[in-house]
């Protein structure tokens, strides 16, 4: 990828993350931390590609562990976040 384009993506993504979180009420801090924890679980995709290209047993071994960890991050992150947020579903709106 072109270095300067990557730099723009970095910059825009950083602002997006900052903006999205800055309006979050305290009540959602935990589910949100957990939710963002789930989203970086997309590292699974990177690990899959890395394992897919692995050529030696060492690379395959590391790749296997990386995919396993990434999958656990994504699956576990989703389940705990969903469980926490499910508790808000029957609540009335605001105050």
């Amino acid at each position: 990828m072109e270095g300067s384009i990557a730099a723009y993506i970095f910059m825009l993504a950083a602002f997006t993350g900052y903006e999205v979180i800055s309006r979050v009420p305290v009540i959602l801090h935990t589910p949100l931390m957990s939710g963002s924890n789930f989203i970086h679980g997309v590292v699974l995709v990177g690990a899959m590609v890395a394992l897919g290209q692995a050529a030696t047993p060492l690379e395959q071994g590391i790749g296997f562990v990386a995919v396993l960890l990434g999958a656990a991050n994504a699956a576990g992150g989703y389940v705990v976040t969903e469980r926490m947020l499910a508790m808000f579903k029957n609540e009335k709106k605001g105050n």
Binding site: A14, I21, I27, N37, V42, V43, G52, V67, G76, E91
Partner: protein, 466 residues
């Protein structure tokens, strides 16, 4: 081939939109649940199309690697899914910590493979790969230590005699090795790489070991941001914009969240990492006054005949899983005409918003739950402040004693209430080891026992008063 590449790129693009949209929806209680589901759809989409990734000279990736991939996803995914389903709400902080650490480990793993393959080129790529590896490894091993501490596997905060010097030397050593790797580029030896990864892992452990108590949520949040950044950096190395966007968005959001929490404690992040709160650091002498014990009956009477009660929950309520009992008691008191509110300190519990989640689980409506700024002036009119398993967040020492490690941290003014009842498991200082001046005040009454058991007794007594 071209069509498949296009499909994959387009799917990653859609997934990135879904992640950001999901995160945005999660910022409001009413749409939060939809938010995580949208993000989940994005994740499934991104994962599914990745299986179609072409191999280097073949239509698909090698079959043996694909088999390993399916196996790893099946094992990692199902173990995490089941443990995530089973874990009690009170144990959420350590689960978030461990899943986060795994993400960091995965990012470090990607870096390791890229170094081993030797296909990287350019200083920028090596730098980001090394940075991602460093941050990911620290997040991985640090999160495991955080998990062990919160899970109770590791009981005591452990501090080396020359902790800060060790931290700095190790951090510099790791950075030096990283720079050496970037410098030598393709020529970096396997031993150099191994030393780099090992140092980064040890650094994560050493930095996290002395941290405990109220600092824990900040550290978990910090590691969350770390993993995000590591994922973003490795995304650049792999040329995958979905990883860059998701990683950096989380990195930025996590950094902001960490700052918000550190600010709420009035402790810069550097202090949290390098000057952890511990009892030994306290210069102040013994407390004046005595501890006055009350029975559950006395406590019930005080609250039943009060007109205004403010409840301050803390980690002790979480440990005892007493949130349902607390809400039951609240409903009884309200029937008796008492105005009951909940005051939540920003760092109560072991995770930001930990108490809000527990109270929501028990069914407490939002409009009874107040933040520190909203409620602190109300304590003057309160008849009873009921402190359930909270300690440092109500310690008036933070206002007055400059030598105290928590000096300057905003606290809930429980001591301004006419009476204070403290539910506590036993005598002795809290997790941080700092003596609490509140407990020795004349208007403070101690109610010893597990929160679950004690509140049940209070409920029994309130019931008899009709």
């Amino acid at each position: 081939m071209e069509e498949i590449r296009w499909l994959i790129s387009a799917s990653y693009f859609v997934a990135a939109i879904l992640f950001i949209f999901g995160l945005k929806e999660m910022s409001s209680p009413t749409t939060a649940r939809k938010g995580i589901i949208w993000a989940g759809v994005g994740m499934v989409l991104a994962t599914a199309v990745t299986f179609l990734t072409p191999g280097e000279s073949t239509l698909f990736m090698p079959v043996d690697n694909l088999i390993l991939m399916v196996l790893a996803i099946a094992i990692g995914g199902s173990v995490a899914w089941i443990s995530g389903k089973r874990v009690a709400m009170t144990d959420m902080p350590q689960m978030v910590a461990i899943y986060n650490g795994m993400g960091g480990g995965a990012a470090a793993g990607i870096a390791a493979i890229e170094f081993a393959r030797g296909h990287m080129h350019g200083t920028m790529m090596f730098t980001l790969a090394a940075l991602g590896a460093l941050i990911g490894s620290v997040s991985f091993s640090g999160s495991i230590v955080a998990f062990a501490k919160l899970q109770g596997i590791m009981k005591k905060a452990f501090r080396l005699p020359t902790q800060n010097a060790v931290n700095i030397v190790l951090a510099l050593l790791t950075l030096g090795l990283g720079i050496a790797i970037v410098w030598s580029g393709q020529e970096a030896s396997a031993w150099l790489l191994l030393a780099f990864f090992l140092c980064a892992l040890v650094l994560g452990v050493i930095v996290t070991l002395p941290i405990g108590g109220a600092d824990m949520p900040v550290v978990i949040s910090l590691f969350n941001a770390f993993t995000g950044l590591a994922v973003g950096f490795e995304g650049y190395v792999m040329g995958n914009p979905a990883l860059i966007i998701a990683g950096i968005v989380v990195g930025a959001a996590g950094t902001l969240l960490t700052q918000l929490m550190a600010k709420a404690m009035n402790r810069p992040i550097t202090n949290i990492l390098f000057q952890p709160i511990s009892g030994e650091a306290q210069a102040g002498g013994a407390m004046e006054g005595t501890l006055k014990e009350v029975s559950a009956l006395d406590a019930a009477t005080m609250m039943h005949y009060a007109s205004k009660v403010i409840i301050i929950p803390g980690y002790g309520m979480a440990v005892a899983g007493a949130q349902h009992k607390v809400w039951e008691m609240t409903e009884l008191l309200e029937e008796a005409g008492v105005d009951v509110r909940f005051a939540i300190h920003p760092v109560a519990g072991r995770m930001p918003g930990h108490m809000n989640v527990l109270l929501a689980e028990a069914g407490v409506p939002y409009d009874k739950i107040f933040d520190l700024e909203e409620i602190n002036s109300d304590f003057n009119q309160a008849d009873v402040a009921l402190v359930i398993g909270a300690n440092d967040v109500v310690n008036p020492v933070a206002r007055s004693d400059k030598s105290s490690p928590i000096y300057g941290m905003p606290i809930l003014n429980a001591d301004h209430a006419a009476n204070v009842i403290v539910v506590k498991r036993g005598q002795g200082a809290g997790y941080s080891g700092i003596e609490n001046a509140l407990f020795y005040k004349d208007n403070c009454h101690m109610l010893y026992g597990s929160a679950q058991k004690v509140i049940a007794e209070v409920i029994q007594n309130v019931k008899t008063m009709g």
